[in-house]
Each structure stands twice: as structure tokens, then as C-alpha cells.
């Protein structure tokens, strides 16, 4: 058994956790989420730098919350998500044990939220090279080229809502998409409606998205959805100094303001 598996066994045996959300190796040699509620299942657990998924989304799930004492394997993006979720008061109903892998590959089990927050601040993730490249490409395009790019992407969108499902920040029990009085977002998938859906989702994530990139990674039709919020958050950080997932005392950029906020476009 690896040191991770031993650690997790220990946590089960001393009653610290009832459920562990981690990774296992599946077909295609891919690390995928796995849920362990018994020491007999511990041996499938893995945790390597290739475990890129953001498991924090499961902390909002009813079946997980029912377990009350939950352990979770968290890469840096996930840690950042946890900080943001705590700042939004979404994790108060479970006792969480968060485990990460530091840069040297050593296991770290956080004793307190303060410790977790300090770790995130010290290891604050930057954009991946791939994302930086795509962002540069998009910024270099002319307005009409960007319009062509995004409308093509949105035409391919099938409204499966996988982007929303996988996002830890999309936890509204009653999503704006589901209302029909008024109906903001059409059910049918067509370019205008899809554009509206993605705009709306991006705006609802402005100042909240922690740039894990999961939405773009898992989109079944390959739309780099995460680019919208990556750009938005860059702008929000530049304009208002707010960094998402940085501190549990974070405010929310879009429900606060400074009288000194500046812009050039209001006549």
C-alpha cells in the first residue's frame, strides 16, 4: 500500500472520515473520481500530478453531504475552490479533511482551514501554458474574428450542461436556466440561445470562478468554455483587485463596489 492509502486507512479507522473522494485509474489509464466508504476499497486510490480533476464539486452533492465526515484529495485548483466555497459559506455542513500533494510529492493533510488558506496563498496557481496560449491567440484576434470564433463554438454547443454540472461554483439548487417565468434561456440549442446561456453563466461566475478549467476540459464538443471566465477574472482582478479563491474572507466583486471604480466608456 502506498503512503496515501495507509493515511486514508488511518483516517477511516480513527473515525475522522466516513467517505473519501479521491482518484482511481480507469480505462484509458485516466485518473477518474472514485468514492471510498470502506477500507477494503482503499487500494484503488491514486494521487499523482496527472490527477487534474476538480473534486470539490462533489462536496456540494447531497449523497456526499449525507456522509458528514468527508475526506478529499485536492490538487491546487481544488484547494482554491475549497477556499472560495468556504468564503461563500457552502461547506459549513460537513466536516472535511483535505489532503494535497505538495510540490515535492509529499502528502499534506491540513489540520485547519487557516493552514489550507495559507498553503493556497503560498502556491497560488497560475494559468496553464495551454490556456495562456489560447488566451493570447484570442486577444490577438480582431473583434470580428473573435465573433466568428465564439459563434462557431456556440453553434456546436448541445446544451448538455456538463459545464455547469462539473463546476463547483454552480451549486444553485434552482438555476436561472431552469426557470420559465421568465424564461431567460431557451431549452433548444441554437446559436443565439447558446450565446446567451454562456454569457449568463460567465457573468454569474464573474468574481467567483477559480480557473480550474474543468468546464472547458470536459465539454463533450470541445468548446473552451473556461476561456470566458479566465478573461473575466483577469479583468476583475485588474480592475477591482479581487482574487478568487485566495482568502476565506473574500468578498464578491459584483455585489460590492468602490466609489472610485473607474471606466472610460460611460458618457
Amino acid at each position: 500500500m502506498t503512503s496515501l492509502q495507509n493515511k486514508v486507512t488511518e483516517l477511516f479507522e480513527n473515525g475522522t472520515i466516513n467517505l473519501l473522494i479521491g482518484f482511481k485509474e480507469a480505462i484509458h489509464k485516466l485518473p477518474v473520481p472514485c468514492f471510498i466508504d470502506n477500507v477494503s476499497q482503499v487500494e484503488q486510490l491514486i494521487f499523482t500530478p496527472s490527477c487534474k480533476g476538480n473534486l470539490s464539486v462533489y462536496l456540494l452533492k447531497t449523497e456526499v453531504k449525507q456522509a458528514k465526515k468527508v475526506g478529499i484529495l485536492a490538487n491546487v485548483a481544488t484547494l482554491r475552490a475549497i477556499v472560495q466555497l468556504v468564503s461563500e459559506n457552502q461547506l459549513g455542513d460537513i466536516e472535511k479533511t483535505v489532503i494535497t500533494l505538495d510540490a515535492k510529492g509529499e502528502l499534506v493533510v491540513f489540520a485547519t482551514m487557516d493552514e489550507l488558506e495559507a498553503y493556497v496563498q503560498a502556491n497560488f496557481p497560475d494559468l496553464s501554458e495551454e490556456d495562456k496560449k489560447l488566451l493570447d491567440q484570442l486577444n490577438a484576434m480582431s473583434r470580428t474574428e473573435r465573433w466568428q470564433y465564439w459563434t462557431e463554438q456556440f453553434t456546436a454547443c448541445v446544451k448538455c450542461y456538463a459545464c455547469r454540472a462539473v463546476c463547483p461554483m454552480c451549486y444553485c439548487s434552482s438555476c436561472t436556466v431552469e426557470g420559465n417565468q421568465p424564461q431567460w434561456i431557451k431549452v433548444s440549442s441554437e446559436t443565439t440561445g447558446n450565446l446567451e446561456w454562456h454569457t449568463m453563466r460567465a457573468m454569474h461566475l464573474g468574481g467567483r470562478c477559480i480557473n480550474c478549467g474543468e468546464c472547458g476540459r470536459i465539454c463533450p464538443v470541445g468548446i473552451p468554455v473556461h476561456m470566458l471566465t479566465v478573461k473575466m477574472n483577469q479583468d476583475i482582478e485588474a480592475e477591482f483587485g479581487a482574487k478568487t479563491g485566495f482568502s476565506v474572507k473574500n468578498g464578491y466583486a459584483l455585489n460590492s463596489f468602490k466609489p472610485g471604480d473607474k471606466e472610460q466608456f460611460i458618457k
Binding site: 480505462i27 480533476g53 448538455c160 440549442s189
Partner: protein, 334 residues
């Protein structure tokens, strides 16, 4: 069934003839994202040939993601209601896998058996399916477990199997024959032979008979909760699946004009079964995922006599959590 041969190097010409014959040709195209999707093409060089499976199935040809059932317009003279069934073009789907072609059998049973669906009927009538057998497979493929195989002709009008320099052509229906006739000079009659050595080897993961039997008592299995923990409740698996047929009817428009649309829906969505009263018979993801798997392997057998899963593996590949349908079926039928 008629057998023909065509030179591999002349496939492109055959393809071009299909386009010249005036039909819309839908084929697998490699997108910027690296995934392959079915799209209408103008020429053979747009067609991708090096992939194991497309992202989504070809069901959108007969069951589009959005179908306009009818539209209406109101003016001083009254209300005019129109539909565009007459505009549906002759279509050829090129490059289906045998699993996808077989899925069309299920779709046909579903849409035409009890209450024949005109929209499906018209589209299916105008569609020719040219399948290509699989030389490669991956770990998500499990067609052999659901009584299919990488060289099955079930559901297709024509099946192509590359055998080195030449392509073995099995013409199964009149539509397949008509396709041959668009480029008759390229085809030479051939003799039946085994495709075995040119097909991918797909290991069986379960016995269909055993599963069909055991699933009858699987409803209350405690394993469902574990099998569904990773499910987020999105529609990726249902939309990618060649046999998922659930839809939603939506009306869009104003008092003066509008249309009624049929759109893809998914049983994984939380609201799928919500009643107007507010009651929802499936309140959690465990119940919803159980419904999906039971439908594939039990309910569709009871309703239409066919297992609706064709083992294409798209649900696994598209799932954000990579949930595995055959692993789950095995664990709940243990």
C-alpha cells in the same frame, strides 16, 4: 446481400460521386478541438479516417438536436401552419461504425413501432447509412458484450471493410444498391469472405444473457448508490448516445408567430421527471442513473424487445467523471 470490391484508392471518387448525385453527405470531420464529429461535407478531403469513435453519434440525422415540428403565422386572414417535412434532403451518412448502424434499428423500433413518428419516418426514409467496420477499438468499446461485433452489418445499407489495397463492400439493402449505382464503374462484384483478420478485437466484458437475467432483480441493489456517486446530472451521456431518444417539446414565439420544437432531453437532468405539482419521483442522482442503466438493459427489452445499448462507449468517453456503464452493470448484477 451483394458483395462488391472497390480499390481503396478509389473510395474518394465514390465519395465524390455521392456528393455529385445531389445528396447531402454527412461524414466524420476532425475538429479544432481534436475530436471527430459528424458534419455535412463538400469533399472527401474533409473526411477524417484515423479515429476510433466519433464524439457524438449520427442519430441527429434522423433525430436532430432541435427539430421544428411546425411553425405558425397569424395575420388578418387567419393562422397559417406550416412544417418543413418536404424540405428534408436525401442524405448519406458515411463512416458510421457497426455499433452506430445497429443503433438505427432501435431508433426505428422506438419511433415507428407503436405511434409512428412522421418526422423520424421522413428522415429515415431519405437516409442511406454507409458504415465502415472497425480496425481499431479502445477500452471503452464493448460491442461484443451486447451481441454485436466490429464487422456487423446490422442496421446499415452498406458496410465497407478495408482489406489492404481493396475494400470489401457488403450491400445489404436497396438503398445500398442505389449508392453503388452512383459510381457503378468503380465496383466489381466479389465473393463472400471472412473479415475477421481486418477487424479489431473487442474483449467481452459480460455475457448479455447473464445480464438480462440478473438485471431483473437489480433494482434494489445497494450498489447503485456507489455506482452513481460520480454522476453530476448533466446530459452528456444521453446526448452522445446513439439510442437515447428522450425529448422535450418547447414552444417558442410570440402571439403573431412562433414554432414548436422537439429538443433533446436527458433523464440525468434533475428536472426531467419533475411534475407540475412540484413532486419529483426521482429526487436524487442515484435514482436517475439507475433509471438510465435499467432502461438500456431491461426496460427497452421489455418494451421493444431490444437491448438499447450498442456498446459504442461514448457515454464513458464523454462523461466528465468517466463513469463506466459496463463496470456499473457488472457491479449491480453481481
Amino acid at each position: 446481400m451483394n458483395i462488391y470490391n472497390i480499390k481503396s484508392s478509389q473510395l474518394a471518387e465514390f465519395f465524390e460521386q455521392l456528393i455529385k448525385s445531389g445528396k447531402i453527405v454527412i461524414a466524420p470531420v476532425l475538429k479544432k478541438s481534436g475530436k471527430v464529429f459528424f458534419e455535412a461535407v463538400h469533399s472527401y478531403d474533409q473526411v477524417s479516417t484515423d479515429y476510433i469513435q466519433t464524439g457524438f453519434s449520427a442519430k441527429s440525422v434522423v433525430f436532430p438536436k432541435v427539430e421544428e415540428l411546425f411553425s405558425f403565422k397569424k395575420d388578418d386572414e387567419g393562422i397559417e401552419i406550416t412544417n418543413n417535412l418536404h424540405t428534408i434532403p436525401e442524405t448519406v451518412v458515411w463512416g458510421l461504425r457497426p455499433c452506430d448502424a445497429s443503433a438505427f434499428n432501435y431508433l426505428t423500433e422506438f419511433f415507428l413501432k407503436e405511434n409512428p413518428d412522421t418526422y423520424f419516418a421522413v428522415r429515415k426514409e431519405k437516409t442511406t447509412l454507409i458504415a465502415i467496420s472497425c480496425a481499431k477499438a479502445d477500452d471503452a468499446c464493448f460491442c461484443t458484450s451486447v451481441e454485436l461485433n466490429p464487422g456487423s452489418t446490422s442496421g446499415s445499407d452498406m458496410l465497407l471493410t478495408t482489406m489492404g489495397e481493396s475494400v470489401y463492400v457488403e450491400v445489404i439493402t436497396e438503398k445500398g444498391k442505389a449508392a453503388v449505382e452512383t459510381a457503378a464503374s468503380l465496383f466489381t462484384p466479389g465473393e463472400e469472405k471472412s473479415k475477421e483478420e481486418f477487424l479489431a478485437k473487442v474483449t467481452s466484458v459480460f455475457s448479455m444473457d447473464e445480464v438480462k437475467e440478473r438485471i431483473k432483480t437489480a433494482y434494489d441493489s445497494a450498489e447503485w448508490k456507489h455506482a452513481s456517486m460520480g454522476c453530476f446530472g448533466c446530459g452528456a451521456c444521453a446526448f452522445a448516445c446513439p439510442t437515447c431518444t428522450c425529448f422535450d417539446i418547447q414552444d417558442e414565439g410570440t402571439q403573431d408567430s412562433g414554432k414548436r420544437l422537439r429538443c433533446w432531453d436527458a433523464c440525468g437532468f434533475g428536472l426531467f421527471t419533475k411534475h407540475t405539482s412540484g413532486h419529483n419521483p426521482r429526487t436524487n442522482q442515484t435514482e436517475r442513473r439507475r433509471q438510465r442503466l435499467m432502461h438500456k438493459f431491461k426496460y427497452s427489452v421489455e418494451n421493444l424487445g431490444i437491448v438499447s445499448c450498442v456498446g459504442c462507449g461514448r457515454c464513458i468517453r464523454n462523461c466528465p467523471a468517466h463513469l463506466n456503464i459496463f463496470e456499473n452493470i457488472l457491479s449491480v448484477t453481481k
